[in-house]
Amino acid sequence: MRNQTATQLLFEMSQADRGTIVFPESDVPEVTSLPAIDSSFLASGPLPLPEIAEPDVVRHFVNLSTLNMSVDSHFYPLGSCTMKYNPKRHERLARLPQAATSHPYQPENQIQGLLSILFEMQGMLAEISGLPGVSLHPAAGAQGEFTALLTAAAYFKDKGENRTRVLFPSSAHGTNPASAALAGFECVQLAGGRDGFVDLNELKSQLDERAAVFMVTNPNTLGLFERDIAKISELLHSVGGLVYIDGANMNAILGKTRPGDFGGDMMHYNVHKTFTGPHGAGGPGSGPIAVRDFLAPFLPAPIVTHDAVKNWYSLSTPAKSIGQVRTFFGNVGILLRGYFYIRTLGGKGLREASENAVLNANYLLSQVKDFLEVPHGDRCMHEFVASAKKLKDQSGVTTMDIAKRLLDYGFHAPTVYFPLVVEEAMMMEPTETESLQTLDAFAAALRAICSEPPELVKGAPHSTAVCRPDEVNAARKPVLCWGAPNC
């Protein structure tokens, strides 16, 4: 039932002179009294945008959408991404007038409702992290990292210290080093122990007065809780450094343990992961950060404060703020969805969510470990990393082949080849919003694939619109724009 005509490129569907009128005629008189724009600044002609009638626009995108897998349509165990269900009620509530249509320069007295919610959100994120200073400002996790590192830098500068190095284990997500570099730090990567944990001796050997921040994801990207996290934090603090917790995996520990309690000084949340902000096929996200009290004065502006006497909410700038890392307050639309989620679950509900996320992950692990190697043991937190190395050695079937073949079975693939410390890595995060039936069906598919004829698996996917785009040649001469000379 695929509709080929509708999935041509917009530009191929375009017909000159559609003559669609979109807006009303002007209802105001021409003004001649004011200086006019010099013709040398005016557009030479209309833009070369496509001309398509509304019905074909709709049909085009509706058909495109069906070429996607998504949480709404498929199991999506993409490790480290927490592809949990995005409650529809959030979408409805986010459309309420004050949420959807407030202008960032609107007077505070018109948006007290919104500000009060953002203020509550700051408090809730402080409670969940055990870190009192919260900024909702950063646009996503990566910007949260960057912002927190700038905050740390300002703190050290304020103390008259010049710390130049940021450290992280080799299992760290790419954004950690990238953010550190962006913030002007020297990056030091630790090999880490075989067992997947931070090697304390190695860490010690790298710690001195140059050490600014140690960035660690906890639970780490292998789905393991850094058992020595308290020690790690002691070590850092002993040399005057700080510990940054990458919160991408918070879905494993909500209400079970808190970064502030296990020694973290700073962290970011990914509201679009842990708190159901829809991923939107690549964003938007929201990456609020939480920090210890002594770091709070350096947080970016603006933050929401509440005058309990006047019961008045307003924006303010922390005393020694690093400034702004983006325009306006933050990704309010996503923050609200996170707020709705936390309000829906409450403390008990969040804990149960994490417990079920961990239960689902461990159950899935128990169902695959007999035919897929899981290098780091029989227990995990909310996700685990399997490896197809054995299979590859035996039959040549790689993690990528398995990932592609899963699509034929109606499942999205796990995260592949990350973390880099595991060969042929397959990082599986089922999340708590998947049923036992789905987990069983997925495990059965994996099992079947592992014993399918290699050539069948290596030829996968067979049921999708396309099969294995050539990325190598694509990178040699990139075609990034339709109709451009180079395209």
Binding site: G184, I322, E355, P469, A484
Partner: protein, 451 residues
């Protein structure tokens, strides 16, 4: 809890399969002394009905919906056709992740390829990426990119007419790096070529200018760009995303990198976020670009298809050498803009820009006919202009708000000392949505306020 799955029976089955008696066993990895001994102290859970009733009271009013919105300063109250919401609310789009598995993401990938092309058509620039966070970070990312291109890290010359929040972001991003941010002060609302010449030298990586600038005035981008180029610096332009409907497009000024806040093209205001960072540049710089890029390619069967391209630039491969740290970007808003532009087409964009311009001129003519009220700069503008009144603008705007009309922002909000009499100046922005009646009501109201 509405999203809880496992029934007691299923739970038992899972416990057995794993080999545990209690859920706590699974958390034994966490040292006992680090585990929480209490429940998180959060509000009690609420049902969908209760939450909705509460939110309808807390968020049901306000926004730009009740008052008339003449607010500008980077984001605007433009019309969004229903088609845009209809399409972007399809779960297949908004509940998918970044298109890592191309075969399971052709819908997203093609849409973003179309986005990149539409933005190239809008700007005339060779390449657009698949989005950055928003306009402000796009400006800073552009400066980083310029540094990668010409290796100059010492100086950036930015226009004093740049959006004050873009400026703040620049300061935050570059404060630590010892890069010198050289302000080019405006002369009567715009940057003069002389000022630019004086500010740019062989250490300058790029000039950063805005069109129309934050004060609403139209800059000589071509002239400024030429000056930058003669000094071996790049020209970075932040443009109004709607302006190419009426004004020259960035490429026609010869700029090297053009960025914009994409919100006016199909994204609701949402108190300023999420927004859309538009980022474009010349072909030769593509490998130095920040952010994700979608490329056309062929699959095993030789079939045209789409996939992420030039990922080697990105953090998950290049780590600390990446061209940016951005991972999650603004995908859904790029989609909104794609559907928006496809729906309104070239005529629609021209109409949108022209109507905004005509209404702005009409508003300006009425407002400046009020005694004591004048255009701060007697220059042509696009759809936003800076007004000066006898009284402090903070007072004036508050009084107007009481009459149900939102205008601004006022320069006092940013302490924009680089405009003299800044305390009495505020912006007035128009879009195709504002009716003659609303404009005349504004004039009447302002007259009462200042008179």
């Amino acid at each position: 809890m509405p999203y809880l799955f496992d029934t007691p029976l299923q739970r038992r089955k899972m416990f057995e399969a794993i080999g545990i008696q209690t859920i706590d066993e699974l958390f034994s990895q966490i040292p006992a002394d680090l585990q929480m001994k209490r429940e998180l102290n959060l509000p009690q859970p609420v049902s969908e009905l209760a939450l909705q009733q509460e939110m309808e009271t807390r968020l049901g009013q306000g926004g730009t919906s009740l008052k008339t919105c003449f607010l500008g300063g980077g984001v605007y109250d433009h019309f969004i056709p229903a088609v845009v919401d209809e399409i972007t609310s399809r779960g297949e789009f908004y509940t998918a992740y970044t298109p890592y598995q191309a075969e399971a993401s052709q819908g997203t990938l093609q849409a973003f390829y179309e986005y990149q092309t539409l933005i190239s058509q809008l700007t005339g620039m060779d390449v657009s990426n698949a989005s950055l966070y928003e306009g402000g970070t796009a400006v800073s990312e552009a400066v980083f990119m310029a540094m990668r291109i010409n290796g100059r890290h010492q100086k950036v010359a930015f226009a004093g007419t740049l959006h004050p929040e873009y400026r703040r972001v620049l300061e935050t991003y570059f404060a630590r790096l010892g890069t010198q941010l050289v302000e080019m002060p405006h002369t009567n609302g715009v940057i003069s070529l002389e000022t630019c010449k004086a500010a740019v030298d062989s250490e300058t990586t790029a000039i950063v200018i805005q069109q129309p600038n934050f004060l609403g005035c139209i800059e000589d981008v071509k002239g400024l760009t030429e000056i930058a180029h003669t000094a071996g610096a790049l020209s970075i332009l932040a443009f109004d995303a709607v302006s190419p409907g009426l004004l020259k497009k960035p490429s026609e000024y010869g700029v090297d990198i053009a960025v914009a806040e994409g919100q006016p093209l199909g994204t609701p205001l949402q108190y300023g976020g999420p927004l859309l960072g538009i980022f474009t540049c010349r072909n030769e710089y593509v490998r130095k670009m920040p952010g994700r890029l979608i490329g056309k390619t062929v699959d095993r069967k030789g079939k045209d298809c789409f996939a992420l391209n030039l990922q080697a630039r990105e953090q998950h491969i290049r780590r600390d050498k990446a061209t940016s740290n951005i991972c999650t970007n603004q995908g859904l808003l790029a989609l909104r803009t794609t559907v928006f532009l496809a729906t309104i087409g070239p005529r629609g964009l021209t109409q949108m820009a022209t109507l905004s311009h005509q209404k702005a001129r009409y508003a300006a003519s009425l407002l400046t006919s009020i005694p004591g009220v004048s255009l701060k700069f007697n220059r042509p503008f696009f759809r936003e202009f800076l007004l000066q009144t006898p009284q402090p603008s903070a007072k004036v705007l508050a009084a107007l708000a009481d009459k149900g009309i939102n205008v601004g922002p006022d320069l006092a909000r940013f302490e924009m000392t680089n405009v003299n009499g800044w305390q009495n100046c505020f912006l007035v922005a128009l879009t195709e949505k504002r009716t003659r009646t609303e404009i005349e009501a504004l004039a009447k109201a302002l007259k009462e306020v200042v008179g």
